[in-house]
Each structure stands twice: as structure tokens, then as C-alpha cells.
Symmetry: C2
Amino acid sequence: MKGFLEIVKNRKSIREFEDREVERDLIEKIMEAAIYSPTAMNKQDRRFTVIRNKDIIARFEEAIKKGLGIPRYSLHDAPVFVIISVPVDSDDGIANSSTAMQNLYLAVENYGLGSCWINQFKYLNEDPGIRSLYEELGIPSDEKVYAAMIIGYPDEKPEEKNREEKIIYID
Amino acid sequence: MKGFLEIVKNRKSIREFEDREVERDLIEKIMEAAIYSPTAMNKQDRRFTVIRNKDIIARFEEAIKKGLGIPRYSLHDAPVFVIISVPVDSDDGIANSSTAMQNLYLAVENYGLGSCWINQFKYLNEDPGIRSLYEELGIPSDEKVYAAMIIGYPDEKPEEKNREEKIIYID
């Protein structure tokens, strides 16, 4: 069993994946960790859309390329793509998406998978190509997406990065 | 040693604390987990101000009461108060604050402490009383605060809440 701090320190963004499916029961365990992350006032008002369908993931990649105008944009052939959507009128949509993302990151690490935050959707909430895919998957027009994640079996071992953030103690 | 999913599931918001100091070396371990949370593009541009000085915490409580106009507002006599500040011009300030908050929550649970997210500062970034305290502690005027946390030894055991968020699988 991995220790908590070991999981926290080993977590790294992964952008190269084995050509290997992630089992449905494993991804369900990971999603359980996601919904245990807090929401402001315990509203539990997030929607997690968990895509393992390769065709749909490829269509998202195409729509992001077009929406951003970046032809070489890639979702890195990841076998799993998780989209978190939150009510448009929530004051805490980004925060609530981000606590879930962090639990996802750590759960993925705990189970020997790898993942990377996909940060582009927050700029594409009004994009027609993206919206049409959301509609097809049942993500309603009164929800926005600020965060998404690619997940799979890692096929790279990124180097550790130095941590140099400011911590000021007022004793 | 606690398992990862156990930590994730046991984490609850704590608002009653023992009248007991949290040791400096323990809080340093917890802050280590915080800085291992990701920032967009690995900018590591957060500042963590960790306050164990009771007088300063009391002055924050007073300033929040005044800023919000809520005389009964309370920081629950917590012995530790952590403020996360981020550059005003960051596109990812809320997300970067929130991943750190989630690591803090889990680290606190891992070490047998309790914590609660303080969500009021995001409304008080321009408040003169709050800004003057920030200045006193060295939080510069080009940083904003979206998230803070009270931490201490828990003196309550909140009941487990049902988790009923929407998870949609597209296989």
C-alpha cells in the first residue's frame, strides 16, 4: 500500500500512454475518489462525464483543434477522458471542479495510472463544435466546463520537478 | 498507515477544535503536501501564509466580520490559519488555489487533524481592513486570495454525508 505523501509526491502530469484500455471497474474506483472531494456548501452539483469511447475522444480532439485554431493539439491518445461540468450560475464552479481534479490525480497515481489536466475547455464553453458534442453526451447548456482530464497507463517517467513555492510562517 | 481511499472518504469539514496547538513540524509536513499540488504550466506562483499566531488570527476574524457585515462570523478558534494568495493576473488562480486546498484537506486527515475551507476572502480582496492585514503579513497588493483554511485537532465527529453526484459513463 502506498503512503499518502508518497502518492502526493509521485503524482506527475503524464502525456504518453500505453495502447491499453483502462478497465471499467478501475475507473469507477477512481471516480469514487472524485465525488468525495468537497463542493462549496456541500451542493454536490457537479457532473462527471467519463468517456472511454475512442471515437468520441477523437471527435473532442478535433473540436478542440478547431475551436482553438491549433491543428497540432493532441489528447495524447489517452484511453479515458473525464469532463467535469458545473452549473453556469455557480460561484464556486472552478473551485469545485479543481478539488475533484486533485482527487482524480491522486487516485490515478494510487492505482498506477497516469493523467494530465486538460485546461482548454474553459476557453471553449461557447464554441459551437464543443457545445454540440456536450449536447450529444447529455451535458446541458446550463452547465460549463472548466476542467477535464486524460487518463491511461503511463508510458513515460517524467523527471521530478523542484518545488520552490513561497511558504511564510507567522508563529 | 492509512490507505488513500480511506483518507479521501474520511475527510470532512471540521469546525470544532481542541484547545491545543498544532506543532510546527507537523504543519510543515502538511504544507509540503500543499506545494506538491499542480499549478497550471507548472508556474508554482502561489504564496502560502501559515499563521499560528492567535492574535493575528483573531484580527482576521474581526476584519472578516466587518468586511462581510456578519457580526457572528467565526474562525472557530482554530489554532492554524492558512491563506493562499496568487497573482492577480493569473488565469488559473482559483484552480491553483483549489488543488492546494484539496492536498491540504487530505494531508490534514492523514495526520489526524481537521480542517475547513474558508471561502469568504474571495469577496474581500478589495476590503481595506483585510488588505491592511495582508500588507502587514507581506501579501503584496498584486496578489489575490480565493481560498484559506482553518486547521486544528478535531473536537467533533461529523456524520458521513451521502454522495449522490452524477457520473455518466460513455463506453
